[in-house]
Symmetry: C2
Subunit: 337 residues, 2 copies
DNA sequence: AATTGGCACTGTGGACCACGGAGTGCCAGG
DNA sequence: CCTGGCACTCCGTGGTCCACAGTGCCAATT
């Protein structure tokens, strides 16, 4: 059905359209690409490509534009991830080193990615479910209140105030703290519910209420309610493109945390670059955008995802290269921390 | 110079233009507002208002549009802050109660404000410089690393990893921790440098290096480098308006933390509503926007600011009412925490 | 002195039209 | 199977025209 030359034509159409943002015609293609055939021949190929749904014309007597299906084929078979230039790699390195804590790493990463791709960048904090407990701290706040601080191995620090505890005895807090740490230190958060289940039984009955309250907050905040934290950057880049969908719909979608999570989450093949093109996205407002995402992590351990949102008409090889490179560097930085 | 009626005309021009987004003519004014005079008279007044720079016409034979100066007069003398409806107040209350920690309070607040005003909302975290230390925690992370966690009375939790400490002795950490807490508990962060100055001298010489390292990180992260934390919401609302300046410039400005801080910070009169209109903003890209901001805090103690960014053509009374109301509620919620 | 109706004037924006150009589909010949 | 030629189609541009909304000015009125 699709011989080599037709694929070459499709590739050329995608590349030219991405560059110029204008429907590309057979003559222009013949001039700018060494296809070795005449415009008429290219026209015939284009008819075939259009019949198969890879390209389309906005109207008669206009050039062709790739469809979502066309981009999909381009990404899957006609292009390869473009490695970053040495200068770009140096930029990444100098940009990410020197961050003093997790917040700063994440903030810098998302800005960097936005800058490299000229698109909207999304970075997810290391997922709590894949982190393990480094330390649990309990701090009496005076009165019936206690602050619980959980520090994970990935640098995330989650805190929560626990109220209504009645009288708080210093020594009971000390006991509970060391008990908690003995039970949870080094455990994955997913395992915490299991290992703390029988703790209250070990507590002096007098302070058992406090222990139960603390544990329930711990479980609720870290396991059940574990909200993924996500940051965005580069929304200004959206304004530069003119979208089929209204810009407002896109911005609205990007403000919904749930949408972002699903956007990154729906990777077919974890630990690989994932590309979702146009209507492949579940969200109405994002029908005219594509999402390139990747996992990052330390060693084989995947921690969370990063990604980029841009127009379907984007430079896929370059964007994929940037996302992959940034994901790797973040992993390295986190490992070094 | 400006008699009562001319002011009434200006007010009417502002109100109509805000409603319709179209230059308003003398005839329409006479119809829609009970000015009690004929269009011709209004025209004469308009000429006077234009000579004084309060309104302008986009071109001959078009209606008039308020200038920045016109909006300024409107805000200062021709309008009053519009109280929220009962329904809106209930919405605020139900929206803000039930937040479990500071992050959640801030996140909900910024969304709420964006929703109420249909504009871009900005909320600053309680400023560190105006908070006091509740507790300092030191957690050995294994090896030469230590995590410092500072908890403030406003609920902010700042953490930092300190590396390269050599051997860490449990008991030395315990000593340092209690020493730190004795010295700093209850102090404003601004005072911390003063009260910890002579601490190293009190430390066992063997562990003095560690104490010095910890203190320098403490000072650096909390006092010198104290970055203000700021969150945004409602950027999608920008897309609904058509701006003189390019949307891109505005979005870019709003992504710069420094810009946001100055935007909120430049209040003439603290603890009051501040309005900066159009070119009154220092930033190039924000020449066609106005900023309404207010302090929030507990009691008389101002903690930080919230604000709203929208087109100069905005509903000032309504926006000011919403900002003021939300600022008050946030203060109450924080006080109750 | 202030207000008003009348009137001539003026840009804007929409409708209409004509035209050049880019690109196509098809066909017949190599 | 490829190619050059050709007729066709539609878009975008630029020009003209007109209606409209709104103005500024003036003379008359209160």
């Amino acid at each position: 059905m699709l011989d080599e030359r037709k694929l070459a034509v499709l590739r050329a159409v995608v590349e030219d359209f991405v560059n110029t943002n204008e429907p590309v015609g057979s003559k222009a293609l013949a001039e700018r690409h060494p296809l070795g055939v005449s415009p008429a021949t290219i026209r015939n190929d284009m008819v075939a490509l259009e019949e198969d749904g890879y390209i389309t014309q906005p109207h008669t007597s206009a050039g062709r534009v790739p469809t979502d299906k066309g981009y999909r084929l381009f990404v899957d078979r006609l292009s390869s991830v473009k490695p970053l230039s040495a200068a770009e790699r140096r930029a990444i390195e100098s940009f990410l080193t020197g961050a003093v804590d997790l917040d700063e790493i994440v903030t810098r990463t998302v800005r960097l990615l936005a800058q490299l791709t000229h698109q909207v960048a999304i970075v997810q904090y290391p997922s709590l479910t894949r982190s393990s407990v480094q330390h649990v701290e309990l701090v009496p706040l005076g009165g019936p209140r206690l602050m619980m601080v959980v520090i994970t191995d990935t640098g995330r620090v989650e805190q929560r105030v626990i109220d209504g505890l009645g009288d708080i005895s210093e020594s009971a807090v000390d006991d509970l703290r060391s008990m908690l740490n003995r039970a949870t230190a080094g455990r994955f958060l997913n395992d915490v519910p299991r290992v703390v289940g029988d703790l209250p039984a070990q507590v002096d009955p007098e302070h058992r209420d406090m222990a139960v309250a603390v544990l329930s907050v711990l479980l609720e905040s870290l396991v059940e309610r574990h909200e993924e934290k996500i940051v965005l950057a580069g929304t200004a880049n959206l304004a530069a493109v003119d979208f089929a969908a209204s810009l407002r719909d896109i911005l609205e979608a990007l403000e919904e945390n749930m949408v972002l999570i699903r956007l990154l989450g729906e990777a077919k093949d974890p630990s690989m670059l994932t590309v979702r093109i146009g209507a492949e996205n579940f969200h109405e407002g994002l029908r005219s955008t594509s999402v390139v995402s990747a996992d990052y992590g330390v060693g084989n351990q995947s921690l969370a995802k990063i990604g980029v949102v841009g127009p379907t008409r984007m430079d896929y090889p370059g964007t994929m290269g940037a996302v992959r490179a940034v994901a790797r560097y973040v992993g390295q930085i986190l490992a070094g921390q």
